[in-house]
Symmetry: D2
Subunit: 407 residues, 4 copies
Amino acid sequence: MNTISSLPENNQLNDLLVNLKDFLKKEIIPHEQNWLKMPWSEVEKEIRTHRDFLKEIGAWNPYLSKNHGGPGYSLMEVAQISEVLGGSFFGHFACNCQAPDAGNIELLLQYANDEQKEKYLFPLLNGEIRSCFSMTEPDNAGSNPILLNTQAKKENGYYIINGRKWFTSSADGASFAIVMAVTNPDAENPYQRASMLLSPTNAPGFNLVRNIPIMGHAGTGWASHSEIIYDNVKIPESDLIGPENQGFKLAQERLGPGRIHHCMRWIGICERAFDLMCQRAATRKTGLKSFLGEKQMVQEMIADSRAEINAARLMVLNAANKMDTLGQKAAALEISTIKFFVAGILHKVLDRAIQVHGALGVTDDTILALYYREERGARIYDGPDEVHKASLARKILQQYGLKVHND
Amino acid sequence: MNTISSLPENNQLNDLLVNLKDFLKKEIIPHEQNWLKMPWSEVEKEIRTHRDFLKEIGAWNPYLSKNHGGPGYSLMEVAQISEVLGGSFFGHFACNCQAPDAGNIELLLQYANDEQKEKYLFPLLNGEIRSCFSMTEPDNAGSNPILLNTQAKKENGYYIINGRKWFTSSADGASFAIVMAVTNPDAENPYQRASMLLSPTNAPGFNLVRNIPIMGHAGTGWASHSEIIYDNVKIPESDLIGPENQGFKLAQERLGPGRIHHCMRWIGICERAFDLMCQRAATRKTGLKSFLGEKQMVQEMIADSRAEINAARLMVLNAANKMDTLGQKAAALEISTIKFFVAGILHKVLDRAIQVHGALGVTDDTILALYYREERGARIYDGPDEVHKASLARKILQQYGLKVHND
Amino acid sequence: MNTISSLPENNQLNDLLVNLKDFLKKEIIPHEQNWLKMPWSEVEKEIRTHRDFLKEIGAWNPYLSKNHGGPGYSLMEVAQISEVLGGSFFGHFACNCQAPDAGNIELLLQYANDEQKEKYLFPLLNGEIRSCFSMTEPDNAGSNPILLNTQAKKENGYYIINGRKWFTSSADGASFAIVMAVTNPDAENPYQRASMLLSPTNAPGFNLVRNIPIMGHAGTGWASHSEIIYDNVKIPESDLIGPENQGFKLAQERLGPGRIHHCMRWIGICERAFDLMCQRAATRKTGLKSFLGEKQMVQEMIADSRAEINAARLMVLNAANKMDTLGQKAAALEISTIKFFVAGILHKVLDRAIQVHGALGVTDDTILALYYREERGARIYDGPDEVHKASLARKILQQYGLKVHND
Amino acid sequence: MNTISSLPENNQLNDLLVNLKDFLKKEIIPHEQNWLKMPWSEVEKEIRTHRDFLKEIGAWNPYLSKNHGGPGYSLMEVAQISEVLGGSFFGHFACNCQAPDAGNIELLLQYANDEQKEKYLFPLLNGEIRSCFSMTEPDNAGSNPILLNTQAKKENGYYIINGRKWFTSSADGASFAIVMAVTNPDAENPYQRASMLLSPTNAPGFNLVRNIPIMGHAGTGWASHSEIIYDNVKIPESDLIGPENQGFKLAQERLGPGRIHHCMRWIGICERAFDLMCQRAATRKTGLKSFLGEKQMVQEMIADSRAEINAARLMVLNAANKMDTLGQKAAALEISTIKFFVAGILHKVLDRAIQVHGALGVTDDTILALYYREERGARIYDGPDEVHKASLARKILQQYGLKVHND
């Protein structure tokens, strides 16, 4: 059953949230417009000037568990941090908990050997290098593992990787990629065919073909999504991440908390857009004495948005809470649900905020147009809405005795 | 901020919820179809045979506070009871916590004098009589107090009530009405013009004109909504309920918890409809070997419904929790929000459940058609969606400095 | 390509439309509320008092072609008559062009032998008897012919019909049924298994089990939908309608024009609801000086409804025009489309009209609540929306080379 | 009443449409991706290489009336040309009937003096220069004429223009602007305050501040929208366009046909997106043997899109037909309606087409992402949906006796 009650008091967290909001407002949001026009390498330099301060207030690597030297917040607490950081495009990066690095850090913390830790994990934790995660392939539906083409053949203590990936986010400028590749093509269980491998981006045969132009921009650095050709990339056996042929299992484990982070980031975006919408409605004149906010059609957009954002947040916090208390498996339905539910609300809220801004809303004079373009993908990446809906329904119908095959 | 976490353990409540579900399944739901065809007076007799059992398991008057001899559940706990009872059209009535009696009991507990307690409150608490609440008028928009026409003039120690009301639910067979009437038409503050008065239904001049036919049925007894003409109904001054001219304040106080009950009842209906929809999808063949549930369009209806019902429940529990912990005023935005948000979801879920049932869905062979007709009003009564949305938006925009006048 | 231009002038039609509107307004609509409470047999008597007048103005059997003695209107012209008649629940019946009789008349005109004409067709054309069409079965998805269970076995010059049907509309009081039954269960092509047979309703073994209660009412006479058990009903071979085993082909032929009639009737309902909604918005006060129609949320409902009704009408007229000029087959995509498109708009317009009426909208004091209940079925009967959408998409995708199998 | 029937045969038009489709397919669409990356001046050169051919097939200035030397197509015929040209971002420009030039040509044909014709109109008609239309102001709601700030004061035979405009489309590289400016600030009727003036873009004081970045791109040349400061721009009195103080009337006249062009262009975009969506659905594998198009959720997107695009086209053609036959005033409701109705459908179809493309849909590897960004404005420019809906509803409610004041 869904449950809800007062959040347990956590003064440390509350202080952090207040500090982070203040930090974003003063140090990040005023620079957004400029940074969005600069090459990433320069942006990164500017953002990194705040690293010491963020460490000081406990905002650096805020997702880390206590036994890895972090603050040890629960997933439900981490979720609230992610919402606040979602208030700016640069929020997560500033605190070193941006995708895809945060997920890669999780994997390395659990599976990296000492050399890998030295070379990759520690610099990552310190925000000195970046990484990427190379799974999606252009020729195959991402939601269906049977269709993965990239191969890693084992020869003489090496894996030889060949294949084409795209939407390898943040590959441009990254030091290494974690690559999903088929290592056991003949496995009966299609979920036990692939492994995760660590490939340096300067390895011979690692070809970054292009930063894919998305909604008009190819982006640079962390803010880009690359197409990569792996052309006989040679990786020592020791650069396997986790057990062989268990790539999908690891990806799945990585996905649960990742979905919470994503969804809460989206809610942070929603709140930002909602705030802009209300400001506009409250101040834009439509006549000599009348304001946009007096129009009922605008009021309806505000009311619906408020209701839906609140619903979205409660759904995600509830899922996080269930994962915290009962584990990821017990929260499977909830995790499936939030992906499409929150992405849908994000889309609607952004659309309304733009509409209320009128012509200004489609310009880049506000941040809304960026979010509108960037986050159209939210209903697609990590599995399109349709896949999640079908999956959720199948799980439910199974409880009613109907076994629907997954095609 | 919206908050959420594990429900505090309450074994007493958990036991009650289990017992109630079992009771509805065995003793109520199997009789629904028959009862819906019988006159209310006979239905009531049958339902009342379970009174002793329900008292025994702590399900009788379950909303009552400890100092009134009840179990003393918090509003958030009461909400969960209301959801379970919402699983049948007769659920709340069985436990003596149906509208409008539950709200009237609240008023009498607080304001009744000894004679009123003896004559009305105690029989109500024991399920021996019924009552009604007479506020809405056919000629005036219910959401605007300035427009109330019914007058109660004070003369020689009596109020003389004149006016026309409708949607006085459950008046047919009730022992008394609590009537909202203007007692101070000249008050500057329009919210301080009306009072609540207790009128026996057998008082001279209390004319029950008709049970209004609603969606094809006039109904009888508790399951009806009457039109009443108050024609010089004479009420002793002592039958004022609460302070004079404070009728709207009392109505408002009554409304907060009432909205929680309503919304959770709707969620109970949603769960019932969802269950029927899934059963149908899992068992109805569309071909020799294919089932309705294998169709993605059906799956989408199931997934969207699951997500939305979960969201609705969390929204209501969150509002209840806020009322429990911070008071009704602090939860004003949340209470405004749940009314339209949950009513909208109720409507969508019922519509989908009918659609998945095909031709069967519009027949009375399932309970869905009843809910579809009966609950179309949910988006209208207690203030139509549009009024709540505008009100919520105005409250929000006020925080942004825009004062929108309420017309 | 979709085409459009000025309607050719047809003064005869224009006069008829004007006369019919006037007739409905004066002679039918004022009686609706009473008639809806009376048993059908009495209603029918009252309506039939207008037969001579309607014959006189050319409104009796207005769908009939010239070579059958009718006015010979094109389908596009007939469509406009159907819209006007749709303005009242009793409109089509008054002019003897109501479903299911109009479709049965078409079948008999084409296939009846002399005896059948004498006994059934001529009385039908004169409005002296009624008929029904018995196809849908409770245990089978109506949209899938493979699943038809009712059998008609040929023995010694007779068909012996056995099976269970429901939603045999207007069976109560009808003189005969046209029954769809499997006559060749082993045919390879499942569309060539069934035939249409004419069964008198007083034939031994024709058991009208019940008028199915739909949305709270079982109805009577023409305004009812029955469940029928065919228990060894014996029909002479000569009462086959059309060629043997071609039942689905005939049903399909009957369906094309039938869909135009239905859709235009719905548009007539939409216009009625729209008119009520606007009247309400223009006259209902929400404050001392303010009207409902000044609220933007109400304005949006009006504007969206106007746009959608116009779109619906153009879609249906365009489909009718294509059928008139290029034939039913060429208009297949258009006919698939209008069913779900118009039914969806009907549903939305009725819902909005009720919402604008507030509490009044759910009462039977306006006609809206009747339509809301009765026409929920519009998105289900003659194939649910989902079936039509899937069918349309499959036809389109076939043009792109994808053969989607129909399950 | 809405009317519809077969299009009158027009072989000349039909040939043109076929030729244009072929031309776009072979000469324009293959270059789109390149051209979108090039500065406009270079694109223009390439497109202009086709001018002679387009003149030859009768596609150059296809909107021109016979008495101006054009083909003299009716608005309903022109609409069909606009749909075909809408199939490419560069379609209208190729044929010299792009906004804002087409509208400016109309104005000059009617109002230009000989000098203006020589200097501006003839080069425009020959595609040698470009122009812009300067009306919208950043500080004022575009839909409310009372709020126009830009002033043109008459002094010594000159107008002195001062003010700030934005969304002056295609100003970058244009030879002149037609500017809307207040010439009679004290006029009682606010619709008679402004005039249209012709200002060369190289006039002293005409400052093109910036091409406004819109959805990530500032654009160049014709494909841009500028912010302009008019700083004491001095215009001879003779460069008034049309009668003084009648600017709004002229703008209104220009708007009617312009809306038809826009809406049909959007339908052209819809058809392009629909085609891409179907191609994708028919060819993209989701499993070893299964295709995207077999999924019902995809089928629903296709079916809904097909229905809605057809509806949109019929609505626009019907409005055009009414303007052709009864005049712009008689078609006022229809013109109000199509703006929001078609823009809404455009938005939905683009969104679905992207969703069906998955990750590919957000990249610039298809044209969809461009349209998604560019055409978000369709629901805003020329009056946001909300303004049109309110306006339509007000006009309707006036017929019911309610005078809603326009604020």
